[in-house]
Symmetry: C2
Subunit: 215 residues, 2 copies
DNA sequence: TTATTTCTAGACCTTACAGTCTATTTAAAT
DNA sequence: ATTTAAATAGACTGTAAGGTCTAGAAATAA
């Protein structure tokens, strides 16, 4: 009666909400650092727990397996990144196109902060598809779809404001953007340089400009 | 005297030229299949020699280590691919821009032949940088530089023939192309679909067209 | 033939890895 | 207090991986 939820209170120590579990969070953070740098296959559970300062039993208390952990990392990255996109794409102080530019700048700064040694988790794992647990594929695809949709919405606004022309569908442009952007992140990592990000962004915005001029 | 090369003939069984060594070639071919599909880290020497039907001692006769093998694969892929580019970019029956289109079509057909399960070796390993033997990085970078240079030469021709405008430098465009193309290959592998290749190619050629119109 | 070297062959070794097991400690309900 | 379950702790296990070793077959100069 006094309990808001209908579940009667069980005896024993109640489980922490996953978000509060410090050890779990530490594992996720450390795991993201490792996987964005090394990918899934060559990332070791032992290394990760060592760096996180969490014992093994604890890892397998929160995650059934490395695969389960990997899936959790994809989800964590996906929501972290969606939030980042929203922050940029819903910034009312900027024009829609400038919001996209803001994302590009922030992402670039983010890579710089780690000396261009860390890439995009979705890109890394996407490339590893052939070596990954099968369920990862769908998760990664829907991740890209999500980012693409948010980007398309931003581009649609730009289009309705006349910042870009009506020549191409926003969805098509957004698809183009994410295809190329992931390639740019890949090269930035390989070259340890922001140049590929800039090169791609410059080309992409040139494409958009031409769209505006040719309408 | 009768020997063309100055090296005096040694006793014992003479080493086969690497190109003739059937076992070595089989290993390279099988290795390329595995690494384009799974990358370096998760590809197993044992699996490869098993599929190649070559005993282990034989592998370590031709290659000092997995790393050495990987380096040989990069070189093999690099020269195989450069030849492919030359075949396209020096096709006199086509206009320069159509040569690039030919490359896109051939590469797309190549991926389709393997059900989009195999990607680009350089792209795969580039993404794995953080987990790779350090010397691989430079090798991969020079691989991309080589492809980019060949592509820039083709675009320069297109520019001198007026197929594209003088707005951007061919090197810049070629850099943009390879950044995005590798991203497209990544996504094509993840999606098991030619769509990303087409989407990127379409956008890229649109960009070039606008270059022509705006000159 | 014989000496010498390459190439083939695969059993074996070592290490690193994901995953298990058994305690112990901590926190809440009774 | 006592009971119950969560969370921490880390030694241990089994296997798969890269790499070594030794032996023999094949090839050619002497």
């Amino acid at each position: 009666m006094e309990n808001a939820q209908e579940t009667k209170p069980r005896r024993g120590r109640p489980p922490k909400a996953p978000d509060d579990a410090a050890a779990r969070q530490k594992l996720i953070r450390t795991g993201l650092a490792h996987l964005t740098e090394r990918g899934y296959s060559s990332a070791g559970v032992n290394e990760i727990i060592l760096e996180a300062g969490v014992p093994k039993g604890c890892f397998y208390h929160y995650f059934r397996s490395k695969e389960d952990f990997g899936a959790a990392l994809i989800d964590a990255y996906q929501s972290y990144f969606s939030a980042k996109l929203d922050r940029c794409f819903q910034d009312e102080t900027l024009s829609p196109l400038d919001r996209l530019r803001r994302f590009v700048d922030e992402a670039s700064a983010g890579m710089a902060k780690h000396d261009f040694k860390r890439g995009c988790l979705a890109g890394n794992l996407g490339q590893e598809t052939g070596a990954l647990p099968a369920p990862f594929r769908e998760r990664l695809q829907s991740t890209f779809k999500d980012w693409q949709d948010r980007t398309a919405a931003c581009l649609a606004q730009a289009q309705s404001l006349g910042e870009i022309g009506p020549k191409h569908a926003p969805q098509e442009l957004a698809a183009f953007f994410w295809i190329g952007w992931e390639g740019a992140v890949l090269r930035a990592k390989l070259d340890r340089s922001p140049a590929p990000l800039e090169t791609f962004a410059k080309g992409f915005f040139t494409l958009l400009e031409s769209e505006a001029e040719n309408q």
